[in-house]
């Protein structure tokens, strides 16, 4: 399915196709690409029923997403449809309610075809931490698609669906978007409701969209964003006109080039592609300004204290009592708790629970958790200072292109280092986008743009103008129509 959301909407309005036909195509494409292992659950019955409803809606007053097939990351609760978070702990979990994001997309008559694979509880940067096995990168099936929204990214890159939902706690939308050659937007913390989105690190988790272009992302974010009384951290402010802002010329836009984002560890080919993209921005009328984020090197250590600390607290709820996995034949309540959790969680999830528990424990709280929170403020202050003189901050999304399956998953620290250019954005709660900016070693490279809080429209505008002047986002893996 190579058409954009706008083109699909037009074809649907003009009756050149129907929601049912598009949905059948997406379901067939999903089965045809089962080699990618990108879906945990394919919901044929639900999708065809939703498509039928969309076809009725299309006859009257359709939303721009009506009849457009897509996939949900399997972290969003779907009423009556299994939601696993890629964990054995939730292998049998069928939620009795919908996430707000699920309700909103269903309300717009978009057609969910199923639930995408991911790293367990969104903890990972390669999608190798899934109870259901790793996802493969459509550009090279011996490589990872990135994580944790790896299934979502692979489905979009392989042309199965034009967009997919994802979540980003430390880079989990942007890094897979970069590795799979697509566009991924992480919104401002609080812009999209977290209600019904299974919690990992509650002060960092954000939900949004992966698609093939900034224009498509704008269409979807317009539906997903907004205040939700069911999420107390949801921002109570108006949603900007993302689609209406796309056409603005970039004349006068000041882009800060963060020198720390081009430091040691950035692959030469990745750096070159991003520099070339920045030259393109100059041609579009933007000015490049050298900026510094002095505490950038502290983002990884701060993140890998704060995120596990919040995870250890959030994941305390999995106790074998109320839902999910429960150990067989418990000898005592304690035995039930400890074996349920030991058997239900995978290695990386357990590692983060232990690190987080340690960082929050008596005697270590000040040295780790509180210190990380102070550093978090330094990191947020760095961005605030830089945004006094620039409108956006740019750099490579990832230090390298997609790496090989198995290359880093035995070394947690090598995997954490993947997030070097993404986690600071989550600590500061800012919006950022990754867009295709060229290739290195025949694999996609992502350009990351970061904006001040609630400036998603500025990000989407800047990304869209680049995509009007370049064709990186239209490139497809060999064999993808």
């Amino acid at each position: 399915m190579s058409l954009s959301i706008t083109q699909l909407a037009q074809a649907l309005r003009e009756r050149k196709t129907s929601a049912t036909e598009l949905t059948r195509q997406a379901l067939a494409a999903a089965k045809n690409r089962s080699d990618l292992n990108a879906l945990i659950t394919l919901d044929e019955t639900g999708a065809l029923a939703a498509a039928e409803r969309a076809d009725v809606a299309l006859a009257t007053n359709p939303s721009p997403l009506a009849g457009v097939p897509f996939a949900h990351k399997d972290i969003f609760c779907t009423n009556g449809l299994r939601t696993t978070c890629a964990s054995r702990m939730l292998d049998n979990f069928v939620p009795p309610y919908n996430a707000t994001v699920v309700d909103k997309l269903a309300g717009a008559q978009a057609v969910a075809i199923g639930k995408a694979n991911m790293d367990e509880f969104a903890m990972g940067s390669s999608n190798e931490n899934s109870f259901y096995g790793p996802v493969k990168n459509p550009w090279d099936v011996t490589r990872v698609p990135g994580g944790s929204s790896g299934g979502s990214a692979a489905l979009v890159a392989a042309g199965v669906v034009p967009f997919a939902t994802g979540t980003d706690t430390g880079g989990s939308i942007r890094q897979p978007a970069a590795f799979c050659g697509i566009t991924g937007l992480k919104p401002t913390y609080g812009r999209v409701s977290r209600f019904g989105m299974i919690a990992f690190a509650s002060s960092l988790d954000t939900a949004s969209v992966l698609a093939r272009s900034a224009e498509d992302c704008a269409q979807v974010l317009a539906v997903m964003a907004g205040h939700d009384a069911r999420d107390a951290t949801s921002a109570n402010r108006a949603v900007d006109d993302y689609v209406g802002s796309l056409a603005k010329p970039l004349q006068g836009l000041r882009i800060g080039v963060a020198r720390e984002y081009f430091g040691a560890g950035i692959d030469a080919g990745v750096g070159a592609a991003v520099q070339a993209a920045l030259k393109q921005y100059e041609k579009l009328g933007a000015t490049l300004v050298d900026v510094s984020l002095p505490n950038a090197a502290l983002a990884i250590p701060a993140y890998y204290v704060i995120a596990p600390a919040e995870a250890s607290s959030n994941l305390a709820r999995y106790d074998g009592v109320r839902y999910g996995y429960a150990a067989e034949e418990p000898k005592s309540l304690e035995d039930m708790y400890t074996r349920t959790r030991a058997e239900g969680f995978g290695a990386e999830v357990k590692r983060r629970i232990l690190v987080g528990t340690y960082a929050l424990s008596a005697g270590y709280y000040d040295a780790y958790y509180l210190r990380a929170q102070r550093v978090r403020r330094l990191i947020a202050n760095d961005f605030a200072e830089a945004f006094k003189s620039v409108d956006l901050i740019a750099g490579p999304t990832t230090p390298t292109v997609a790496f090989k399956l198995g290359e880093k998953n035995s070394d947690p620290l090598a995997m954490y280092a993947e997030d070097v250019n993404t986690v600071a954005v989550n600590l500061a709660g800012l919006p950022a986008i990754s867009l295709p900016a060229g290739f290195s070693e025949k694999l996609p490279v992502g350009l990351q743009l970061i904006a001040p809080a609630f400036e998603e429209a500025r990000l989407l505008n800047a990304a869209h103008q680049f995509q009007l002047a370049s064709d990186w986002h239209t490139r497809k893996p060999e064999g993808v129509a």
Partner: protein, 95 residues
């Protein structure tokens, strides 16, 4: 920060995670490496810097203290590994 097997046993107990005796040493090694990473925070100049717990430091919104959720006890209890008579069941805690 290097941690030992006894510390792993203590944290695992706090986290309610069963860890086998033979797993303690490898986990201690892994956690020590992650904590070495965290120890890089020691280089930060944080004197007088207040902790930031939440990105926008927003104040929580007030809402009327009213019941808004319908009673769905049956739907939730149906998810439980073991429930009877409207109650979640767990192994006996008192003899």
């Amino acid at each position: 920060m290097s941690i030992d097997a006894a510390t792993v046993r203590h944290i695992a107990r706090l986290a309610r995670l069963a860890v086998g005796e033979n797993e303690l040493a490898p986990i201690a090694g892994e956690l020590s490496r992650v904590l070495d990473l965290a120890d890089q925070l020691g280089a930060a100049q944080i004197d007088g810097v207040a902790p930031l717990a939440h990105p926008h430091e927003q104040t929580l919104a007030w809402r009327p203290d009213a019941v808004t959720e319908p009673d769905r006890a049956d739907a939730f209890l149906a998810l439980a590994p073991d429930a009877r008579g409207g109650l979640y069941l767990v192994p006996k805690v008192l003899e």
